[in-house]
Amino acid sequence: MNKVVNNVEEALVGIEDGMTLMLGGFGLCGIPENSIAQLVKLGVKDLTCISNNAGVDDFGLGLLLHGHQIKKMISSYVGENAEFERQMLSGELIVDLIPQGSLAERCRAGGAGIPAFFTPAGYGTEVAEGKEVREFNGKPHILEMALSADFAIVKAWKGDTEGNLIFKATARNFNPMMAMAGKITIAEVEELVPAGELDPNDIHTPGIFVQRIFKGEKFEKRIEQRTVRIKN
């Protein structure tokens, strides 16, 4: 069971034009930046990308948008990206905006073999259009479908050779659910350790969900909104 690959080139083998990718991260926090750089290099096109956000103009998924590699985005919030807005308003980019909680739950459902579930989020809004509505406990809910992907690409803090992952702080976000929902899941990690070094109680994503793992060469970890207070 050898899941460890040597580098990002090996990790991304098999990703082709027209595929559906899930990419972890919230804003620029916890995104698989080495893999995104490699996707740019590969030049794969017509991608459907499932990601909570779309990066900023010159980092994260913004890099793929810039190269017109993305055909469709499935996201919840895309407000930090001028090029995104331009492509969307011009019709170059197909955009499916869905509530953040529904996005998270739909990814989890995809990984967990739950084909569909009811949620109150989005009832009475555009999001509910064409979806089944049903009342539970006197409250209307809409039926949401599971999401899955040809490849899920996630970023973890620590990983072991069995594919077990531990995330750091709020860099966890969508990564665990997306790891569950990829036909093939690729994890780039800051620290790759031998099996047995991580406490089995502390694992966030059990290795069963991860097919390939590698140590990322470089993590810039750009901060989107540096906000500080001044020391008195």
């Binding site: 926090c29 895309v78 308003l89 109150p120 809004t125 702080a169």
Partner: protein, 218 residues
Amino acid sequence: MALDKTGIAKRIAQELRDGWYVNLGIGIPTLVANYIPEGIEVEFQSENGVLGMGPFPFDGEEDADLINAGKQTITVLKGAAFFDSAMSFSMIRGQHVQLTVLGAMEVSQNGDIANWKIPGKMVKGMGGAMDLVASAENIIVAMMHSNREGESKILKKCTLPLTGVGCVKKVVTELAVLEIRDNKFYLIERAPGVSVEEIISKTEGDLVVPDFVPEMVL
């Protein structure tokens, strides 16, 4: 005098109760954390996966892996917990969060709210707002009474694409505290020095005005 953003945040902070878990949206709502009344403890949840948010970090102590839902660098307090987005929205959808404070572009007298899209002009996405408003039992909207063109945002019916229907129960603006009941806005308090007439003139929706409207105490 109409309140500034800080004033709105201060007034909303008075609604906090001891032991509550609270989700604060981006913008004015974020400021509420600065004015927690003395003697009560609340814990802030951010939907990107943290419970127990603390103040912003000191310069040089930012951690790129530790942000709030507004993508701002933050710190955490003792007893904090991190979790994934599915767990985070389990808290929200499952009504474990006692209070949600968020901004709005429009609110209508039946409790509808619009805050994520201006067709043909701006589409940032709903983020977690649709989950929050559809689930929360207790939602306070922090907003300005009018837009830049001076048009009321407190409406009979929202004109923009909705974020949620019939969910808003309380609105705090620079002018007033309004409650929504029986398909009407009820004027509960006015900002210090703001006249009832001004509030009436700037409110498009049906407004119920009692004989005596107390001033906010901030």
